[in-house]
Amino acid sequence: MGAAYNTISFKTDQCDGCNACMVACAEAKSGTADVLNSRIQIVPDLAGRFDLAMCRQCADPKCVADCPAGALTKNMTSGVIEWDDSKCVNCLLCTVGCSYGGIVHNQAAGHVVKCDTCDGDPACVKACPGGALKFITTSRIYQEVGDLEDLFVPGLSGCLGCNTELIMRHTLRRVGPETVLATPPGCIPGMGSVGYNGLTGTKVPVFHPLLTNTASMLSGVKRHYKRQGREVNAMALAGDGGASDVGFQSLSGAAERGEQILFICVDNEGYMNTGMQRSSCTPFGAWTTTTPVGEHGKGKTQDAKNMPVLMMMHNCAYVATASTAFMEDLYQKLDKAIAASKHGFAYLHIYSPCTTGWRFPSEENIEVARKAVETNFVMLWEFTPGQGLQLSRPLDDALPIESYLKALGKYRHLSADQVEHIKSALARNVDVIRGFARNAEA
């Protein structure tokens, strides 16, 4: 697996063109406040918004390939494209190779200049008052887990841009080879994890329980190994249908008994594998094939079941919600859940936006996942019996819910009344979680 790197991200929505980043960069790099000397350039467009021209630290950089003097090199440890003054001949060919305005001739310096991310502590990000610039350090995780073996086979047949496949590969890779995996009917076996013709789609033992009995079968498997004196991880990767609907009885029983299981619910808010039918986790107003939109139907008429809160009420050893848009958080919770499953029941509820069933472009999956969290539609928290519910991320300053609803085709039909209903249900949900969090503090 290749290396992952830290990176500076820019959100035009949160930029007001204050130029604080450019001043900070110019001061750091040239000792002057002249923004012409800044390696980051905020460019006003013609509609009052702002664009960014700066080095992308490309993975396969053309500036490096176009340098005749060997003066530019990609540092494979930091990911930064480094410039060597002692080799540069000032020929400017790198500026021909860069199609991002990321390396330019600087009059004051007398040579080309580019962003070096201030050795991993960028001055521009620290100076940004609106949160438009962020230094994303999630790469640390990919570096750490990059050497772990992917325990699913290549070529699973998930839909283009499938979030669930990401969740599967990340979680099993971390849980490791000493695992028995249960995948009840749903997208997860559907894309090939249980395999075909006598071959499995995993490199660990995997079985395909009924929708109804995942947790009870896994309880038995785990107890069997324990009796044999073998320590294995018993993990379920189940959809929200298999967890919250017909599978709920066995799940609730196993949680109540404190079976030593890690149960991961991959919540894509419906039965996406079998044709996008509603589940009890489908939110109000959402289109599914069984809550159609037409002359009479306007999507689902009930609110979603709050599955992670229900599991918390079982007083499990560990319960948490997570999102692939927040990988550092997800991995921390995964580690805690694995540890908790050694002595009790651990439940992880991971939201998985579904490009096919929710109707949005496949390349926007992580962005949709992020918006769900940033609007509080999905709240990130964790629970242990000792500490109660702890927020993983503040619920203040949420983005308006419309920005999430508008990103999804399954909400395209919503009337103003339905949006109002969603808003009030959301406010109620936020109050519930805040209440638990306050109680835990007290």
């Binding site: 467009d45 060997g70 020929c91 190779g97």
Partner: protein, 417 residues
């Protein structure tokens, strides 16, 4: 006979880009690079800076031996290819050895083109294409007092600047009416020419040398121009252009015109043989006629495409066509040329000779076809993309003409960020 799956002849930008692209897709199949130079890979573009002393000749290499070892590449240096037997899928080397290949890339670049001047073979003269040439010229520059440069292209102009800075009296003789013809128009060339004249360099444009003869001192030459003027030199540099190195192509069966003719995946007319870089004659961007573009960034582009095609990489995108491009730094001034001087209409032409500032923008059917500047800020790489993508500039035409850097970056952000 040695066998290799991939055989790459040449070791400069096109070849190295191909090695990189092949290894991105195929980490294991055997790969051999043959370089006629007895050195690690380097770029001909860096040579003027070796002459000037800016570049340490020991530190100009684009790859080290460790790179080749890490990527499982057999790097054969000091070996020239003399013939290709396409039917047998094998090449012959000057040493007599033969190498059989499955897939062959010809990236042999170009060599100086010597003009047919009577007496050229009777005088000592320099060319500049190899590291050896550069080291020899560097030694001569320090001693030169009367230097004559034939040809006012990039190599000649760089050398003239270096010679002037070293204290020599320099004369440049060029057949074209202006310096750097093809990359810059008369107004831009005048700014460049005036800068050289102010530094004491004598430019004789629209003339040519009709006779050369040895001078009285060893190494010196008597140079006779078309109008009968006679000049003396103790250093003569011939920089009248380059020609593709194809002396091994006879008998290969591949279609050869001015260069080796290739399709949009850099494939020659013969199975299992590709060509890229200064030796290749590939589709031009503007009218589709096949041209030798002969510039470094395009060599990288072509080498990458050839490598991907040879390795069967499904991500291969076809060549979008060659666009003339160049950057030229002279006496601390920056000149940039992106696109065609003849395609489209002149939409902006701003000349401020006193401050050595110049900008010309060419547009055709609302699309950018060329942009040329001296000491004016715009991003050449962004402009290249605007041309290749045929971005419609009509909605922002006036703003673009006023501030191509800002509008270019805006279009970049909206289109391919």
């Amino acid at each position: 006979m040695q066998q290799t799956h991939y055989l790459i002849v040449g070791a400069s930008h096109a070849a190295l880009a191909a090695v990189h692209a092949i290894r991105m897709h195929d980490e294991t199949a055997s790969l051999t690079v043959v370089s006629k130079d007895d050195a690690l890979p380097y770029s001909p573009t860096v040579l003027p800076y070796v002459v000037s002393g800016r570049s340490d000749p020991g530190r100009v290499f684009l790859r080290d031996q460790a790179y080749f070892e890490a990527h499982n590449v057999n790097y054969l240096k000091g070996e020239a290819v003399t013939a290709i037997a396409a039917a047998d899928k094998c090449v012959s080397l000057a040493s007599g050895a033969r190498i059989s290949y499955e897939k062959l890339l010809l990236a042999t670049g170009a060599a100086p083109q010597l003009p047919p001047i009577p007496g050229l073979d009777t005088v000592d003269f320099h060319v500049l294409r190899s590291l050896d040439d550069a080291l020899r010229l560097r030694g001569a520059v320090a001693k030169a007092r009367q230097a004559i440069v034939l040809g006012a292209g990039l190599v000649g102009m760089h050398a003239a600047e270096n010679l002037a800075k070293a204290g020599a009296q320099v004369t440049v003789v060029e057949m074209q009416p202006t310096v750097l013809a093809g990359y810059f128009d008369r107004a831009a060339a005048s700014i460049i020419e005036d800068t050289f004249s102010a530094k004491g360099v004598r430019l004789i444009m629209g003339s040519k040398v009709v006779k050369l003869a040895p001078g009285e001192q060893s190494g010196s030459a008597r140079v006779t121009l078309a109008d009968g003027t006679e000049l003396q030199s103790d250093l003569l540099l011939v920089s009248t252009g380059v020609t593709p190195v194809m002396d091994y192509m006879d008998g290969s069966g591949a279609q050869v015109e001015r260069g080796i003719v290739v399709d949009d995946t850099m494939r020659t007319s013969v199975d299992n043989i590709w060509a890229a870089g200064d030796v290749a004659q590939a589709r031009g961007f503007y009218d589709g006629a096949k041209i030798i573009n002969g510039i470094l960034p395009d060599a990288v582009e072509q080498g990458k495409i050839a490598g991907m095609a040879m390795a069967g990489d499904p991500a291969l995108k076809h060549y979008t066509g060659g666009v003339p491009l160049n950057t030229y730094t002279f006496f601390g001034q920056q000149a940039v040329s992106v696109g065609s001087q003849s395609e489209g209409e002149v939409a902006a032409h701003r000349v401020d000779a006193a401050h050595k500032r110049y900008l010309k923008i060419m547009i055709k059917d609302g699309r950018l076809t060329g942009i040329f500047g001296i000491n004016v800020a715009f991003d050449p790489g962004v402009m290249w993309e605007l041309i290749l993508r045929r971005i419609d500039l009509a909605p922002v035409r006036e703003q673009f003409l006023a501030d191509p850097q800002r509008i270019g970056r805006m279009l970049m952000s909206k289109t391919w960020r």
